[in-house]
C-alpha cells in the first residue's frame, strides 16, 4: 500500500505541533507497512527534518513541482493525506486528474476559519484592529469548506471539530476524529523537586505570541512576587523574535527560545500555563504537559477539543486574576498538584497514546478507502488525451476569439487552460478575486448567476472544453440560458465557445474570416520583441567555404506550428542570408494554412496533428536527395546566430562530422546536459546528437539513416540508434559549440504526449540495435579554440 503525504514543509516535529502531527501520521503508517512518499510545498526546508524522514525510510520531495505527473500516475497511490486545507486545495485538482483512483484525505489539523474568526471576535474592543470579519476571511472560509467537501475523507483532531465539519459539509461519514499523539514518559520528580512555571509555544503562530504577552503583562504581576522569585517563568518555543525576547526583561522571566527537547522543561516545571485567548484545534503543549504529569492552568480556549474538566484534570481560568490565583494554588498546594498530575497523566495515556492514535488513524483510513464517495470516479475515457483537449481548446480560442477579449473557461482549476496568447483567460466558476472557486455550482441557477457576474466584469466568451461538456446536460437552466442569450461562435470535437453578447459574436465572426492582414499582424507578434537579446553569437567559424571547389548544397527541412508562438520567420530570414551554401528551404505549416510572409518557403500545410518525422519523411520523399550535400532539420522554436548556416556547415565539413548539431546556449531548455554549449571549445566529438531542434546529416549517411523509422514517430530513441550505426560504420558525429542556438521558446514534449512517445521509443528500440543513453553521453574528443586567440 502506498501513501502520499503532503504538507507545507518538512515536518519540523520538535518545533511546532502541526508538524509533529504529520510526523506521527508518517510514522504510524510506516510502522503499519505502508510505503510512503512525503512532499513538502516549500522547496527550502531544514535538511535535518528531511533527513529524519529519509532515515525512517520515507521517499521525500521538497517542492510540489518536483513530483511529476508521470510519477504520480505510475506510483498509483492508494491514499493521499494532505495536511491543511490550502495544501489540499492546491493539490486536489491535479490528483483527481492524474491519479483518479487515489483517495484524498485532508487532515485539517485545526480549522483555520474558526481560528481566524475567533482571532477577530475575541479581541478586546480597545484593540485598534477591526472587530468585524473581513471579507478575506469569508473567502477563505468558502474555500476551506469547499476543499473539505471535495475530499474523500477528513481527519479532525477533536470530536468537536469533527462534528462541526460534518455539519457544515452535511456528511458525517466523511469525517473521522484522530487526536494528537503524545507518548512522553511520566516525570519521576515529585512536587518538592519541581521548580518554575512554564509557557511553551511556537511564535510563528500569532495566538501564542498574544498569549505570552498576556501572561507576562496581565497575569504574572498578580502572582505573589516571592513565589515567583522561587518559581520563575520559562518561556520556551520556536521562532522567538525580539518582541518575545523583550518579555525576558520582566522580573523572574526567562526567555529560552527554541530547545531541541522540551522534556527537561516539562518534567521539571511545577506548573504549565496555557493562557490562549483564541485558537482552534487541540493544544499539543497541554497534552504533552499532562502526559508528563505536570499540572496545567489553562483558559477555556486552551482545553478546547480535549475531554478534560476544570478541577478534575486541569484548572481553567479565563481572567487574569483567576489565572494568577490558579498558578499560586498549583505552586503551593501539593495535594491539588498531585491529584491533577495523576489524573492528567492517566487521561492522556488513555486518549492520546501512540497505540490509541494509531488504531484510530488506521481505522479512519480503512473507512475512507473502502467507502464509496460521490466524488470518486474511475479514470475517465479522455484522461489519456486531456493535454490534447487543453491544446485544442486553447487553439480554438485563439482562432475564434479576437485578441484582447476576455474568455471564461470551465477550467476545473487548471491554470494551463488560461494561458492564452493575447487573450485574458478567466476561471469559471471563480471566487471574487479571480481564483478558481474549487467547487461546482450547486445548481443551474447558481451557474447562471456566476456567469452573469463575469459578464458584468467584461467577459464576452465562454469556452467549454470537452471535459466539461457534461455541464450542458447537468445544468439544464445554464444550458438554456446559453442558448437564449448567447450562441456558439465555435463548435468542435474538443470544445464549444459561446459568444455571450451580440457584439462579441460579431467581432468573433470577423476574427475567424481569413483576413491576411490580421494574420500577418498576429504572426508578427509571435516573434518576441527582444529576439536580438536572445540571439547567440558565433564563437568561431570554419574556414570560408568559398575556398571550396563548389558551394555545398544544403536542404533545410522545417516545420512550424500555426497558431502558436514561433520563430520560423526569423529562422528563415537568418538562413536565407547564407552566402556560402546553395540553400533549399522547405517548410511545412502544421495545424493551419501558411501565413503570407512564410508562403514562399512553405511547401505544404498539414492540418491534422502529424508527428514530425512522418512529415520529414514526406518532404524527403519529394526531393532528389542525391542533389544535396547536407540535410538540416530545424524546429520553429529557436533563435539562430547571424551567419548560422555558413559557419555551421563549414565546421561540420572541416571536422568531418557525418552527423552534427549546434550546442544549445545555457539559457535554453536543456533536456540533456551534454548539449549545453561549452565555452572555450569549437566542438566535441560525441556519441550523441539529438533529434532536435537542429541536426545536420552529411550525404554519406543518407542511406544509413533515412527514411526515418516512424515506429517512434516523434523521434524518441533515434539518438541511440544513430549513434550505434555511425559507430559501426566508423563515422564521426558531434556537437558544435562554436555555433550555438538558443532553444528557449518551448520546452520539449510541449505538444505531444510523453507516454505515447515513450512507448513508441520502446517499440523502436526493440527493432534496432542501439547504444544505451549512458553509452551515448560520451565525449570522445574535443576541439578547443586556438590558444591565445579564442576567436
Amino acid at each position: 500500500m502506498k501513501a502520499l503525504i503532503g504538507s507545507t514543509r518538512m515536518p519540523e516535529y520538535d518545533r511546532e505541533c502541526g508538524s509533529k502531527r504529520i510526523f506521527d501520521v508518517v510514522q504510524i503508517l510506516r510502522d503499519a507497512g505502508w510505503d510512503i512518499a512525503y512532499v513538502a510545498r516549500d522547496d527550502e526546508g531544514r535538511d535535518r527534518y528531511a533527513r529524519a524522514l529519509r532515515q525512517d525510510g520515507v521517499l521525500t520531495y521538497a517542492g510540489f513541482d518536483k513530483l511529476t505527473n508521470e510519477f504520480l500516475a505510475q506510483a498509483r497511490f492508494d491514499i493521499a493525506i494532505l495536511a491543511f486545507w490550502h495544501v489540499a486545495e492546491a493539490w486536489l485538482p491535479r490528483l483527481r486528474r492524474v491519479s483518479p483512483a487515489t483517495r484524498v484525505i485532508v487532515d485539517s489539523i485545526d480549522l483555520h476559519f474558526l481560528r481566524s474568526a475567533r482571532g477577530v471576535f475575541t479581541r478586546p474592543p480597545s484593540d485598534a484592529v477591526a472587530t468585524a470579519l473581513p471579507v478575506k476571511i469569508g473567502d477563505e472560509f468558502v474555500r476551506e469548506l469547499n476543499t473539505y467537501a471535495a475530499a474523500d475523507g477528513l481527519l479532525a483532531v477533536s470530536p468537536k471539530e469533527t462534528s462541526l465539519i460534518a455539519d457544515l459539509i452535511g456528511n458525517p461519514h466523511a469525517v473521522r476524529c484522530v487526536p494528537l499523539c503524545e507518548e512522553l514518559p511520566r516525570s519521576p520528580l515529585p512536587f518538592a523537586e519541581r521548580r518554575g512555571v512554564l509557557f511553551v509555544g511556537n511564535f510563528w503562530h500569532q495566538p501564542n505570541v498574544e498569549a505570552a504577552n498576556h501572561l507576562v503583562s496581565d497575569i504574572l504581576p498578580r502572582v505573589n512576587p516571592r513565589l515567583l522569585a522561587e518559581h520563575p517563568l520559562w518561556i520556551v518555543g520556536n521562532a522567538s523574535d525580539d518582541k518575545v525576547a523583550q518579555l525576558g526583561l520582566a522580573p523572574h522571566v526567562h526567555v529560552v527560545g527554541w530547545v531541541p527537547s522540551l522534556l527537561p522543561y516539562l518534567s521539571r516545571a511545577r506548573v504549565m500555563t496555557v493562557p490562549l485567548r483564541y485558537g482552534a484545534g487541540t493544544k499539543g503543549k497541554l497534552i504533552q504537559s499532562l502526559a508528563v504529569g505536570t499540572p496545567v492552568v489553562s483558559t477555556s480556549v486552551g482545553i478546547e477539543g480535549l475531554d478534560v474538566m476544570d478541577a478534575r484534570d486541569v484548572i481553567v481560568a479565563d481572567d487574569a486574576a483567576a489565572f494568577a490565583k490558579s498558578i499560586e494554588t498549583l505552586l503551593t498546594n501539593e495535594e491539588v498538584w498531585v491529584r491533577l498530575a495523576d489524573r492528567g497523566h492517566t487521561h492522556m495515556a488513555a486518549n492520546h497514546s501512540h497505540e490509541v492514535v494509531k488504531e484510530r488513524l488506521l481505522n479512519a483510513i480503512e473507512h475512507f478507502r473502502t467507502r464509496s464517495h460521490p466524488l470518486m470516479f474511475s479514470a475517465p475515457p479522455w484522461a489519456a488525451t486531456y493535454e490534447q483537449v487543453c491544446d485544442a481548446t486553447k487553439a480554438a480560442i485563439e482562432r475564434n476569439v479576437p485578441p484582447g477579449a476576455a474568455v471564461a473557461v470551465i477550467s476545473k482549476g487548471d491554470e494551463a487552460l488560461l494561458k492564452l496568447d493575447n487573450r485574458r483567460g478567466e476561471h469559471f466558476p471563480q471566487l471574487r478575486d479571480g481564483r478558481y472557486a474549487g467547487s461546482y455550482p450547486a445548481d443551474g441557477k447558481a451557474a447562471v448567476k456566476s456567469l452573469e457576474r463575469l459578464k458584468a466584469r467584461g467577459v464576452d466568451f465562454l469556452a467549454v472544453p470537452r471535459t466539461a461538456l457534461w455541464w450542458l446536460d447537468y445544468y439544464k437552466e445554464f444550458a438554456a440560458y446559453l442558448e437564449r442569450t448567447g450562441s456558439p461562435v465555435f463548435r468542435g470535437d474538443d470544445c464549444v465557445i459561446y459568444g455571450l453578447s451580440a457584439e462579441a459574436r460579431r467581432v468573433a465572426s470577423a476574427t475567424t474570416q481569413p483576413q491576411a492582414d490580421t494574420r500577418r499582424k498576429r504572426r508578427a507578434r509571435t516573434v518576441p520583441r527582444d529576439i536580438e537579446e536572445l540571439r547567440p553569437r558565433i564563437v568561431a567559424s570554419g574556414d570560408a567555404l568559398t575556398g571550396n571547389r563548389t558551394k555545398p548544397c544544403a536542404l533545410v527541412l522545417g516545420i512550424y506550428l500555426c497558431g502558436q508562438p514561433n520563430n520560423a520567420a526569423d529562422e528563415i530570414a537568418t538562413l536565407r542570408a547564407s552566402t556560402q551554401c546553395v540553400l533549399d528551404q522547405r517548410w511545412v505549416a502544421l495545424g493551419g494554412p501558411a501565413p503570407a510572409n512564410l508562403a514562399e518557403v512553405t511547401v505544404a500545410s498539414v492540418l491534422e496533428k502529424t508527428p514530425k518525422f512522418e512529415i520529414l519523411n514526406r518532404l524527403i520523399g519529394s526531393v532528389q536527395l542525391a542533389d544535396y550535400d547536407y540535410l538540416v532539420s530545424i524546429d520553429d522554436d529557436i533563435v539562430l546566430p547571424h551567419g548560422f548556416l555558413d559557419a555551421f556547415i563549414a565546421l561540420q565539413q572541416q571536422l568531418g562530422f557525418a552527423l552534427a548539431q549546434p550546442a544549445r546556449t545555457s539559457d535554453s531548455y536543456l533536456d540533456h546536459p551534454i548539449v549545453e554549449q561549452q565555452r572555450g571549445l569549437i566542438a566535441r566529438q560525441t556519441r550523441f546528437v539529438e533529434i532536435g531542434p537542429v541536426f545536420s546529416m552529411h550525404r554519406s549517411i543518407f542511406d544509413l539513416l533515412l527514411p526515418f523509422d516512424v515506429t517512434s514517430s516523434m523521434g524518441w530513441g533515434y539518438e541511440n540508434v544513430w549513434s550505434y550505426l555511425l559507430q559501426q560504420s566508423g563515422l564521426k558525429m558531434g556537437i558544435i559549440d562554436a555555433v550555438p542556438v538558443c532553444h528557449g521558446l518551448r520546452k520539449s514534449v510541449a505538444n505531444y504526449g510523453w507516454h505515447q512517445a515513450d512507448a513508441e521509443r520502446t517499440a523502436y528500440w526493440a527493432r534496432h540495435p542501439h547504444l544505451t543513453l549512458d553509452q551515448c553521453f560520451r565525449v570522445t574528443d574535443i576541439v578547443g579554440l586556438p590558444e591565445g586567440s579564442h576567436a
Binding site: 510505503d35 535535518r48 532515515q55 531541541p260
Partner: protein, 503 residues
Amino acid sequence: MNKTEHAEVELRGFDRHPLDGDAKSAAAPTDFELLQKQVAALAAQVKLLQDYVAEVRQARPDVDRGLLEYDWFVQRFRRWLADILPSDARVLVATRGDHALLGIPDRHAGHFPQDDRAGYAGFYPADDTAAIGHLEALRHEGYDTLVFPEPAAWWLEHYTGLRQHLESNYVETAGHLPCRLFDLRPRADRPPFDDMRLDRVFAQARRSLGREPDVLDWVTGAKLRERFPTLAIAEFSGNALPHIDHSIDIVAIPDDKPSSMREARRVAAWVVVVIADGLVVKTESVAASGPTPSASQVTVMHVQEPLGSGRIVTNRMTVDEDSSEDVLVWMSSGVVAVPGAMAPLLATLQRFPQAGVVGGRILEFSGRLYHAGGAMGVDASLRSRGEGNSSPDDPRYAFVQTVDYCSSLFMATTRGAFEAAGGFDSAIPYGPLRDADFCLRVQDHGYSIYYQPESVAVCSAALSRALRASAGGTDLRRQRREFAARWKTVLQSRMPRGDVWGT
C-alpha cells in the same frame, strides 16, 4: 620585455600573499598599508590590461574584447598557479573543457570533471553527490589540488554540498587569487576514517544516549548548525544561559573561561565541548556516561583478489574464531569511501537490530550512480537499482530502505550475520550473483538487508571500466542458471519487494 611580460612579473609579486615567503621577514605592514599596496597593484593591473587590450586590438581589430580579457585571465591564472604550486602538484581545474587552463608550466593538470580517460567530461555533475563522488575518485587517482578559476567560481555557489565537503575536509588556500584553490591532501589534524573530533564526540554521544544528541552552540562562531545540518542544534548569544540545569546533551562554548565553563556545566547533560577556530580543543564530561571508547569494533576488509570474470571477488570468508570484530566492512580495492561514509553504515546496523547487511550508495567514477541496493526478480534476475542514473541525489535513492541485496563493493555485515550465512561463496565468480547469494543466505537466517544512502563510495576509473567490461562473462549464463536453481523455491515463495517507486 614587452608589456605583457612586464605585467606578469608585476603580478607574481602582487599575487603572493603578504604573509608568505619573504614578506614574513619584513616588518609586518599595517592593514592600511596593505590595502594601499593592493589598491596600487590593482590599478597597475587594470592599466596593463587596458594597454594589452588596446595593443592586441590594434593588431587584430576583429578580436572580441571579452575574449581578450579571458585570454588575459588564462595567462595570469597559469602563471599564478605555476608560481604557487609545488613542482610535484597534481591539479584539478574546473575548465569547462578549455585546455588552455591546463597549461600550467611544469605541473600535471587535469580537467574537473573528466572522463575515465582524463578528457573533459563534457557536462557538469548533476548534483552534489555526483560532484563529491567524482572528486574523491580523482583524489584516489592522485590529484592533490582543486582549483576553480574565477569564471568557474559559481560551482561553489551552485554545489553547496560540494562546498561544505571541501570546507569540512580540506584546506582552502587564502590570498588574493584569481581563483578558489583547495588543498586536497589529508589534513594532519584529522584522524583517518573520522571527519573531525567534533564528529567523534557526536558519534560517541549517539552511541551512549541511543539517539541523536541535542546541542547548544553558545557563540562558538563555528557555525555548528550549518556544518552539522542533521543535528538538533540550538543557538544562544546572551551572556548567561537562560536554560534550566542539565537540559541539553552537549553545550559547545568558545573558550574555557571559568565563568563560561561553570554555566556550560550547569546546562549540559552529557558533555561540555570547547571549540576554538572551528576545532575541538577540550571536552569535559558532566555525566557518568560521557565520551568513552566505542564498545564495538569494526574491521575494514579490503578485498583484493580479482578472480574469473574481472570482478573483484573474495574467497569464502570465515571470521577467525578468536577475533573480536562486531562489524565487518567490505570494501573492494578501487573503491573509495567518501569521508563520513562509515558512520551511517554502522549506525544503521545499530539502529535496526534485524539488519544483517547494510550497503552504501555506490557511484561510478563519473559520479553517476552504480548501485543503490539490488532488486531480485522471481526468476532470479538481478537489477542494480539506479545504475547509470546521472543524478545520485534522485530522491528515489536518497532514503533508507530494505532491498533484496547489496554489493560487496561497499557494505557492512554484522559478525553474527556473516557467520550464520557462512560467508561468501567463492564458487560464484560473478560479483552481483555472489553478493545476491550471500544476502539470500543472510535473509534465510532472519536478517534483513538495508540500503543506506548516506554511506557513499565511489569506484576508481579503472574499476568503473572493469565493472562495465564485466557485464557479460563467458560462463555467466551457467552461473545464472545455477543461481536460479539454488534459490528457485525461496524466490518463488517470498513476497517480491518489487519496484515500489519505479527505480
